[in-house]
């Protein structure tokens, strides 16, 4: 899985996710890339970390970091764990890249007690401007890809994910919205580049 390249915001992501996670819990990172987030969580939270990743060269990087990682895609890799095996299952910037996010979220809710979903907000004010005034498909800090070369298959706003959770009877425990460098509380669906949801089964 490709991850957004913006380091500053990734690090902020990592810090926020770390602040959610209880120390020494068992965590699965879906589309863990080279394992930066997992390594950070191992170091700062003492977690037992597992990853699923499709890119072979990223697997070597994960193993180098001492992580346990499985070389497969998220859609197939999610099925094979016992119920509630993980304290947390993380989709950080990867939910929008799976074939069927609804199915993936429900599968994650089976194997994880709580799910952390971090995704780019498609309805940021710049995105809206590019779409409605300029007439282009938006390219923003959190959505840096051109339409013809992007790992993203699904585009959603913070509001969209809230209504999805409501519709699917999923409890939202926490929402953190962020700009490039800090969290944002005022009109997040307009001003946040990214959102991080903590959800669980109702």
């Amino acid at each position: 899985m490709r991850k957004n390249d913006n380091n500053i915001h990734l690090k902020l992501d990592h810090r926020i996710i770390a602040s959610i996670i209880t120390p020494e819990s068992r965590v699965l990172d879906l589309g863990c890339g080279e394992g930066q987030l997992l390594e950070y969580l191992v170091k700062t939270r003492g977690i037992e970390g597992y990853g699923i990743e499709i890119n072979e060269s990223a697997i070597y990087k994960c193993v180098e970091k001492g992580l346990s990682v499985s070389h497969e895609d998220i859609d197939s890799g999610l099925k094979d764990y016992p119920d509630h095996f993980f304290d947390y299952v993380i989709f950080n910037q990867t939910m929008q890249q799976v074939h069927n996010p609804k199915k993936a979220i429900h599968r994650a809710l089976r194997i994880g007690k709580q799910i952390i979903v971090g995704f780019p907000n498609f309805c940021h004010i710049f995105a809206r401007y590019q779409l409605t005034i300029r007439g282009n498909v938006p390219i923003t800090h959190s959505l840096p890809y051109t339409w013809y070369d992007t790992p993203n298959m699904h585009f959603l706003s913070i509001k969209d994910f809230q209504s999805f959770c409501h519709h699917e009877k999923i409890r939202i425990k926490k929402i953190t919205c962020l700009t490039q460098k800090r969290t944002v509380k005022i009109l997040p669906n307009l001003f946040a580049y990214n959102a991080i949801f903590l959800i669980e089964k109702s």
Binding site: E56, Y60, V63, E64, V69, S70, D80, Y81
Partner: protein
């Protein structure tokens, strides 16, 4: 390039008792040939067991005195290599049923003073593992840091993890399966038929006479086809001819024919035809599920960590079989890492793709070792 394990010699372990096989038959006076590289540390926690594949032997690394060719996995075992002999005590033994020093059908049966031939009892992967266990006990090793091997070596690794879960800290099954599939059995059967239809085979009673070299050679040729991939054969040989033009006869014309015959001829000089029958049969019997599910087979494994490696072009042991192993690990909450290395070399890749295997194994072993130290504190 890293250094070699140096000059090594094959040693022999003689087991005095009766060894009961999975078939309930008893084997007396069993001998296991083995080699070791590196030293067992004072904490007894650095033993690594390497299991060989169908045609391998105990000579996995280093050089025998006066020989130019190193052991079969020398690129992986030695100072600074994946199985670093400066850190680990590496053991490799010839399998039971083999013909490289361990007891097999070519060994002398004490009662008759003649080679066993077909009177040798049929053995299984589990028997091979139980024989290795006796050797490990004899060497005074209580826990094994890892059991690693490719192909049939991987089957032994899996069997070790299930038979002795408390002893095995980690397992590295490479290019292998949890059960032989119909296709795998089929290829083995063709190899066996090639041997058994050679008139010189004489129901396995050919010792002291001419051996069924023709049959064994054909069996090896078939084997080699399954070890390569369409791509690697095309790249290596294509339609290249030994001479410039077609000879319109049945001599060796294509390079690939010459290669297969060369491989076959090499093999008959170093391998016993009856051993080939017994070992392929052991692989065909291999099904770790034993009438249960794969999930249940793995349920008593708790602390063993797994590193499962497959190769993209391996069609003899396709990666889906490795993924089934990974799935069974995950379902049982077993710590597992899986990598499918992209390679054009087919099943042989586990004896070729050293840099990738080294990257994975080096760091995996470090992690297993660190977790062990952490657990002791």
């Amino acid at each position: 390039m890293a250094e070699s394990a140096g000059t090594v010699e094959t040693k022999y372990y003689f087991f005095d008792g009766s060894f009961r096989l999975e078939s309930d038959a008893l084997l007396e006076n069993m001998v296991i040939a083995y080699e070791t590289y590196g030293n067992l540390n004072s904490e007894d926690d650095n033993a690594v067991l390497i299991c060989h594949a169908l045609s391998g032997d105990a000579h996995a690394a280093g050089y025998h005195p006066g020989e130019q060719k190193p052991g079969w996995w020398d690129d992986m075992i030695g100072p600074g290599k994946a199985f670093d002999t400066e850190k680990y005590f590496v053991i490799c033994s010839n399998i039971l049923g083999g013909c490289k020093g361990s007891t097999g059908p070519a060994s002398i049966y004490k009662e008759t003073g003649e080679p066993y031939g077909l009177t040798f009892p049929v053995i299984t992967i589990s028997d091979m593992v139980n024989a290795q266990k006796l050797l490990i006990d004899y060497l005074g090793i209580k826990k094994i840091l890892t059991v690693a091997g490719g192909s049939m070596g991987g089957m032994q690794g899996l069997q070790w993890s299930i038979s002795y879960p408390e002893m095995v800290q980690s397992c590295i099954p490479i290019a292998t399966t949890y059960k032989h599939s119909a296709q795998q059995i089929a290829f083995d059967e063709v190899g066996r038929q090639a041997i058994m239809s050679d008139p010189r085979w004489e129901n396995g009673d050919y010792y002291g006479k001419e051996h069924p070299f023709g049959g064994l050679s054909v069996a090896r040729m078939i084997g080699h086809i399954t070890y390569m991939s369409d791509t690697s054969m095309e790249q290596k040989f294509g339609r290249a001819l030994k001479k410039k033009e077609y000879g319109y006869d049945f001599t060796q014309e294509f390079e690939v024919e010459g290669y297969l015959r060369h491989r076959g001829n090499n093999f008959i000089q170093r391998f016993d035809a009856n051993s080939y029958l017994y070992i392929t049969k052991a692989m065909d019997y291999f099904d770790i599920q034993k009438n249960h599910s794969l999930f249940r087979a793995f349920q008593y494994i708790k602390k063993t960590k797994f590193l499962v490696i497959a190769f993209s072009s391996d069609w003899l042991y396709p990666s889906y079989q490795s993924r089934e192993i990974v799935k069974a690990c995950k379902m049982n909450g077993i710590d597992v890492t899986y990598c499918e290395i992209s390679s054009d070399y087919g099943h042989d890749a586990f004896l070729i793709e050293f840099p990738e295997e080294t990257k994975l194994i080096t760091h995996f072993l470090e992690k297993v070792k660190n977790d062990l130290v952490y657990a002791k504190k």
